[in-house]
Chain length 251, copies 2
């Protein structure tokens, strides 16, 4: 937990927050904070800064926020499309989205997605949110990623996604990771990109019909790796390659 | 399981192999193979090809290897240095090494590595090998990564690693992922690299003394991500960024 993410439910007044859940336990048992100590903390969908421990009991930690500063989201903004994975994999994907600053996660149907995955209790905001928050605490981001569930492949790509895209003011580069693609990502993307939409297929990959449809709708295939990656690894690999080719050095 | 990895213990004659463990179960229950079907298979530390199912019972699958061809290891060769992580994380790192074709994994001590991690029963070849093999079956590699355990930070970097390097016929580019570094990987590595040694720190990062010592020994820092990544994600991110900047397009 590199950043304690505070929400309105934790707030007791303008600047003080009281925690009594796993965050309090982390502060007390792992970080062993004492009154007067400060830790890194941020406000959900808001700025971040230092939080001073002003009260401490066995069960509760009171924090007072100071030194707030804005947290800029990653640039370019990244929207991730994932063929809905099995629940254990989805947990890892949610965590990664929080950890790596993804703006929106679209979960969609594909030929190789099992119908039963749509019955997972994980597919509700209350169930997926803790995984996003855990990732944000790890990656040090404060913005909660959006999650959308779509259960029709064509309807998502032909209607829902273009509808979403029509409301955007910056054009998105649409990318599709495909083991068979000849080109690497640096052929398709550079530091001028303002928004990226990246699609990661199910275990076993997209079927040809799906790839053709996505290509027709403006997605370009690229080879993420010579290795056949697990979905959760493919997501990390794609996000980190996108970051590499779109970021400027800070020196 | 995208590639069934066969070992000498499975071999019953020149071309036939009998499986009765989780690989047999995968073939029977998940892939639902029938006699005459073929699946992708490879020989441990050897070539890969098709395996024909020539016998099938409830508990055993007999495979006959055909169409063997060499599997080229990744180029450049990658050696990964990892500050020894907690056992649950180490399992994921081992799997990733198998999945992404790492040649050698050095596990080393660091200031922020807990001593107790060295007591893990995972730290024996018999215990770590299944995780490597699972990764290889996923990533479709046949070469088993080497694993070495080192319990002294300085002795590893000052003696053991240079000793290893002295026996190599190709020079290695030594890289060190560091959140605070100003430059990105593409400043340090390109398609001419013949060997890469990449170091990933513990949760919480390397301490300044460690970074200074590594830099003095020829490691160059780079910024892997603006996000603070978990160790298992940092390993995937680093390997996939290295692959991006060192691979040629296949078109």
């Amino acid at each position: 937990m590199n950043l304690i993410v505070l929400t309105d439910e934790d707030r007791v007044d303008d600047e003080r927050f009281v925690l009594s859940d796993h965050r309090a336990e982390h502060l007390v048992r792992i970080l062993r904070v004492e009154p007067g100590d400060t830790v890194e903390a941020g406000l959900l969908n808001g700025p971040a800064g230092r939080a001073e421990v002003t009260g401490l009991t066995d069960r509760e930690v009171t924090l007072k926020m100071t030194e707030l500063r804005a947290i800029l989201p990653p640039s370019p903004e990244i929207d991730l499309i994932c063929a809905l994975p099995r629940p254990q994999t989805l947990k890892k994907v949610l965590l990664t989205c929080g950890m790596m600053g993804v703006r929106r996660l679209y979960l969609t149907r594909a030929n190789r997605v099992e119908r039963s995955f749509y019955q997972s209790p994980l597919l509700s905001p209350a169930a997926w949110r803790p995984f996003l928050l855990e990732g944000m605490s790890q990656g040090k981001w404060t913005r909660l990623p959006d999650v959308e569930i779509h259960d029709r492949f064509r309807r998502f790509f032909e209607d829902a996604l273009p509808g979403r895209e029509a409301t955007e003011d910056k054009p998105g580069v649409k990318l599709l990771a495909d083991l068979e693609a000849p080109g690497r990502l640096d052929r398709l993307l550079d530091r001028t990109a303002s928004r990226v939409i990246i699609a990661i297929g199910p275990e076993g990959g997209w079927v040809p019909f799906e790839i053709e449809l996505m290509e027709r709708l403006g997605f370009t295939r690229f080879c993420l790796s010579r290795s056949v990656l697990r979905v959760e690894a493919a997501v990390v690999a794609a996000l980190s390659q996108i970051e590499l080719v779109t970021q400027r050095d800070t020196e």
